[in-house]
Symmetry: C2
Subunit: 221 residues, 2 copies
């Protein structure tokens, strides 16, 4: 740390399983990519964010090797652990009152889906709208639009919770009260279809509240 006010994420995972470092390393990297690297509170990456996994082999199992059923099960469990901790980080975000799940589908490829989802998750305009509980689909689609990901405007669809608010790029005849009711929940679900490509991504974020500003601006008064 280079300043005590900086957000820092240090994650240590231990397991009794026997698994060689050469197999554990790519597994952990993949888990981190889809969990810790898919959350965002305020875009401020700490210079010392870190996730370690240590396996001591005391479980006495035959070392886990790729291709085996046990390896697949271990991988799933590791991902579950990472995801649970990543979600806890979001719920514990500075001043956060909302837990927002952003699912992007139909993108040109996974990379484009990540770009769009991350742009929404980082957008201060989206995050203040979440805080204000406003079903502001314009801000969400705008963030996807400027993300750099390919968008097929006439195939765009957006759900807030279960309410389809945009279809084929145009507002549906949804009742705004229904969309607003979903935004008032503590857990908000956003689903954006960008086209008919195979790219998908799920990303998690918080809202941007007055308490965020208080915590990060007025910490010395």
């Amino acid at each position: 740390m280079i300043a005590p006010n900086m957000a820092t994420m240090l994650c240590f995972i231990t397991t009794d399983a026997a698994i060689a470092a050469e197999h554990l390393r790519p597994l952990l990297r993949d888990c981190v990519e889809h969990t810790f690297n898919r959350i965002c509170i305020d875009n401020d990456t700490s210079t010392n964010d870190m996730c370690l996994c240590m396996a001591n082999g005391r479980a006495g199992n035959a070392p886990l090797v790729p291709g085996s059923d046990d390896f697949v099960r271990f991988g799933k469990a590791l991902r579950e652990v990472c995801l649970a901790m990543a979600h806890a980080l979001v719920r514990d975000g500075e001043g956060a009152k909302k837990f927002v799940t952003i699912h992007v589908e139909g993108a040109k490829n996974d990379g484009d889906a990540v770009k769009a989802a991350r742009a929404i998750a980082q957008s201060q305009l989206c995050k203040t709208a979440f805080a204000g509980e406003d079903p502001n689909w314009g801000r969400i689609t705008c963030a996807a639009g400027y993300s750099g990901a390919a968008v097929e405007p006439d195939k765009l669809a957006l759900w807030l919770g279960d309410v389809l608010v945009l279809d084929r790029g145009l507002p549906t005849d949804y009742r705004e009260a229904d969309a607003a009711a979903h935004m008032q929940e503590a857990d908000i679900r956003i689903r954006l279809r960008m086209g008919d490509g195979p790219g998908v991504c799920t990303f998690w974020t918080s809202d941007l509240t007055h308490d965020y500003v208080t915590i990060n601006a007025d910490y010395r008064t």
Copy 2:
């Protein structure tokens, strides 16, 4: 616009000068790159930000051509106009109480300088610290660190106003009260030296205040 709450910048510049589109276009692009594209309120690029310059030639001058003194003077004037408007946008930013100038120098190249300056300008942690008037050099150097730009840690220097707070990567024996006094001014100057390369960039941003959240979260209540 795809939603009336979205920030949108439309800029129209007119001139009586005679200048061919083929010469005006690259000139304007260069001006925009160093003015409008060097400011940031909240990272939310509007999908329809736009800057147009129209020249009708009514001044009756011989058409301006690259290489001539008049062309250079016209280019300087155009840049001045763009810069004045870009600065006005920052001062008018939602809830902004601070006008922050970020000057990065000594970067590997200009591209790296832009990356570092933009990261600081976009950082919610830096912008809340500006709002809180705290001389938090950790947040500023952290943003430069995660920007992707090359940093030479042992050559890092940082000034807040005229106060040198970091030199050769280490805190100086500055008096914190002096740095804090500068942060209390409405216009904040940040100067970051990243190494001894030729790359420079000047970028402008605002602070992130409670009023920003109020304006962008509570606009319907």
